[in-house]
């Protein structure tokens, strides 16, 4: 086979395979996905009162914007609103995206294991967690009692889940702030706890968005 014919064969072959692998295959999967797994294919979107409030799979911030008392406007810092965790809600894990919980530009925090920057970041997360939850936790919280997932940045920056230990500690605060029996909140935590894949792959997860929406429903929609 001469070189010229080889080039022609390559070009034609590349185009045919591009149509098969790059057009027919993804469109076929899109078609099947939209028919057989509609909700999954669209991202497990969650609506409340007709309004899109999030995706079950994507972690989001449950903080409220801070209002500047002098101006009456939302405080801004670096083009982003300044926020404070809302104590009525369970909080997701620390995020390494810019800004935090950015589901349009996921990124790792890339904190090295032997870096003082990492130590300071983790220490700051611990302090924030203790500040938020410590007052409501029997006996108070120390760094050693903070579950690792609450102090360490997630990989995606939009981890939708927290550990059971993390949820149990936050449950004390949520119950106190909402004036609900702790039992009831813990029962909700258990309801939104997912098991491991096939019973052995991964860790149990508490889905924060579902849990928070269920809390709001307790009071007739808030």
């Amino acid at each position: 086979m001469g070189l010229r014919r080889e080039i022609a064969a390559s070009a034609v072959g590349m185009l045919i395979l591009t149509v098969i692998c790059g057009v027919l295959y993804p469109l076929a999967i899109t078609g099947v996905g939209q028919v057989a797994f509609r909700s999954n294919a669209d991202g497990q979107l969650v609506y409340r009162a007709g309004r899109l409030v999030g995706s079950r799979l994507i972690g989001q911030s449950f903080a409220t914007p801070v209002i500047d008392p002098r101006t009456g406007h939302v405080e801004m810092s670096g083009g982003e609103p300044v926020t404070r965790p809302d104590p009525r809600y369970f909080q997701t894990r620390p995020s390494g995206t810019v800004p935090a919980d950015n589901a349009a530009a996921s990124s790792f925090a890339n904190y090295g294991p032997n870096s003082t920057i990492t130590e300071r970041a983790i220490a700051a997360n611990i302090a924030a967690y203790i500040r938020l939850n410590g007052p409501y936790y029997p006996g108070g919280l120390t760094a050693a009692k903070v579950p690792v997932d609450a102090a360490d940045t997630s990989a995606s920056g939009i981890d939708p889940d927290i550990s059971i230990a993390n949820a149990d500690i936050q449950a004390h605060r949520v119950a106190a702030v909402r004036q609900l029996p702790l039992r009831l909140v813990l029962r909700l935590v258990a309801r939104f706890t997912g098991g491991r894949g096939l019973g052995f792959s991964g860790e149990p997860t508490v889905n924060v968005l579902e849990l928070n929406l269920a809390l709001d429903r307790l009071r007739g929609g808030r």
Binding site: E6, N40, G54, R120, A144, V146, P147
Partner: protein
């Protein structure tokens, strides 16, 4: 560490073996031209493709013709992909660029194109802020398939060279590539995509959605045709994420079960090919011996990574965290890891994708502990022969097998033979060259990058203090030279101020050196492998005698592991000492 963590690691190995055995038989049927279940459906379209290309699939090629077809085909793919990526806006009329993203700059595109052609899928860009759906589907997904098909084709050609009884033909490149795509990759990819869809991986073509959260904050959700690309990304050991954080993104990898499916998808073809090898050589024990060597090294790596990550990092301990297992939390180094995977699911995924050329990640490698992070280093230093990439793993370990046979032959003082074919000076020279290309590319690029200001510009300002700066640089070029694609992601070659590439620029040094590294370390070894195949194909098979060294018993497995470890260690040990090993041995923090 938890009992279930160990169950995951061992259970994974068992399920993998159970899936790979039958698949290995199927692959052997495909490549020896025997009919398969799918032939009834696929034989006609297959013939039509050959006719359109005007090639005769039944004509055997010698190694030079085979190599030429491979190079011309890859060049065509390179040009097409570069063109698609650089003309991203031109395809807006298809409606597949809902966010109106511009093309990435030329230097980043050079790196990306070389990356996807060589099955590396190293990514300086973040998918959801750079690529249109058109580029992801018609550009990147296609090369996910075809780079995998080329790798498998080369491995099959080498097997034929080893087993053929006469003549110089080692198969037909066109037939091998088309068959691999139609009979192997597409059917399994459809299966994997459906499994992933059932778990929550998304697959749509809609514009990004804006969410109004219950506390009044808004969030934008990136969307896209993810499941179709995710399936082949893993199956073809490509590893290029649809999203920036790859398989850590909940839309790419939503559950503990999907994590298991993804890990199996990565290893199933490389593992099956080893059994295919046993069948095609007519001695399944040859395949089992190689499989045993691979599995032993794989489990060793998984155990070390799991123990190290479960222990936690110096930074965590300095901050006062307790990293042991407590009720309701698995503990360990959860920095840069997702809750649903936990420590075991992250450590195992990391090992699975760095022993292969996959390089997908479900956690931040940069945040792994020194020893945990040394495991991917060690895997890459072994040149990806522990299962390895699809095809590349098998042909790479076969080079080591030839080397082990040669060394064994020297020890007992006989002319070395492998499966009845004499291994002589020519084969050993080609083998040594094939083995040494990757270390040469990795180490010289690292040296250049560390010694020059242009190279150091890529080191992360957040993480790259002290030995970590060396580690991430070394890892970048080791990963690209191995066509792996995983990264200590702080190392960058692309500055992107806003999504969509307006005002973005590449770091030319990192982009070009990395891109050339990938191309050189992919195609040069392939040419040497095909030359070995051609050289062996022409040899007569002599019957095994009393003095013939056996290559299917435990002694040989140990010899093979020894050769792999020795070559890798001698080549990379000094560099490894400077980075991850220093970090692993100290609790010291650097600033």
């Amino acid at each position: 560490m938890t009992v279930l963590g160990w169950v995951l690691i061992l259970g994974f190995a068992a399920i993998l073996t159970a899936l790979a055995l039958p698949l290995g038989g199927y692959l052997a049927a495909v490549y020896t031209g025997r009919g398969t279940l799918l032939s009834a459906v696929l034989a006609r379209p297959e013939r039509l493709i050959y006719r359109a290309m005007r090639v005769d699939p039944e004509v055997g090629q010698d190694w030079k013709q085979y190599a030429r077809s491979m190079i011309v085909f890859s060049l065509a793919g390179w040009l097409l992909l570069y063109l698609i990526l650089r003309t991203q806006r031109l395809w807006d009329f298809t409606g597949l660029n809902p966010m109106g993203f511009d093309s990435a700059p030329w230097n980043v595109t050079f790196n990306t194109t070389s990356s996807f052609l060589t099955n590396t899928n190293w990514q300086y860009y973040g998918g959801e802020t750079t690529m249109s759906y058109f580029s992801q589907m018609v550009g990147l997904t296609v090369q996910n398939f075809l780079s995998a098909a080329v790798g498998i084709a080369v491995a099959v050609a080498l097997i034929r060279g080893i087993v053929v009884r006469s003549g110089r033909a080692i198969g037909n490149f066109w037939q091998d590539v088309v068959r691999t795509t139609l009979y192997v990759l597409i059917p399994i990819a459809v299966l994997v995509a459906l499994l992933l869809l059932s778990q929550g991986v998304i697959q749509n073509l809609t514009t990004y959605l804006t969410v109004h959260g219950i506390t009044g904050l808004s969030q934008t959700l990136a969307m896209g045709p993810v499941a179709s690309q995710e399936a082949i990304k893993l199956l073809g050991t490509n590893g290029g994420g649809f999203f920036n954080v790859n398989s850590a993104h909940p839309f790419e990898n939503p559950t503990g079960f999907s994590n298991l499916v993804e890990m199996l998808a990565v290893l199933v073809i490389p593992a099956a090919l080893v059994f295919t090898y046993g069948r095609m050589t007519g001695s399944r024990r040859q395949g089992y011996a190689i499989y045993a060597a691979m599995m032993a090294m794989f489990l060793g790596a998984a155990i070390v990574a799991y123990v190290a990550e479960a222990h936690g990092s110096p930074a965590q301990h300095a901050a006062g965290l307790h990293t042991g297992v407590i009720p309701g939390s698995g503990g360990g180094n959860m920095e840069g890891k997702e809750q649903r995977f936990g420590i075991a699911g992250s450590a195992l995924f990391d090992v699975v994708t760095t022993v292969t050329s996959c390089g997908a990640v479900n956690s931040a490698l940069e945040s792994f502990t020194g020893i945990g992070g040394a495991v991917p280093f060690a895997n890459l230093s072994a040149s990806e022969v522990i299962f390895g990439g699809v095809g590349t793993g098998l042909y790479s370990i076969l080079l080591y097998v030839l080397l082990a046979v040669f060394i064994g032959g020297l020890m007992v003082g006989r002319t070395p033979e492998y499966l009845g074919k004499k291994i002589e000076a020519r084969e050993i020279k080609l083998t040594a060259l094939g083995i040494l290309i990757t270390p040469l590319a990795a180490l010289s690029a690292t040296a250049l990058a560390i010694a020059s200001r242009a190279g150091r510009a890529s080191i992360s300002a957040v993480a790259g203090h002290g030995p970590q700066g060396f580690s991430e640089t070394f890892y970048a070029y080791l990963s690209q030279a191995n066509n792996n694609g995983s990264a200590f992601a702080g190392y960058t070659g692309f500055i992107q101020p806003v999504a969509g590439n307006a005002g973005s620029r590449g770091i030319t040094f990192a982009d070009l050196v990395g891109g050339l590294d990938m191309l050189f370390a992919r195609y040069a070894p392939i040419v040497f492998v095909l030359a070995v195949a051609g050289s062996l194909a022409g040899k007569r098979i002599s019957p095994a005698g009393l003095g013939t060294m056996r290559t299917d018993n435990p002694t040989f497995v140990v010899l093979l592991i020894g050769v792999i470890v020795l070559v890798g260690a001698l080549t990379f040990f000094p560099a490894l000492l400077l980075g991850p090993i220093v970090q692993g041995l100290t609790g010291h923090l650097y600033s």
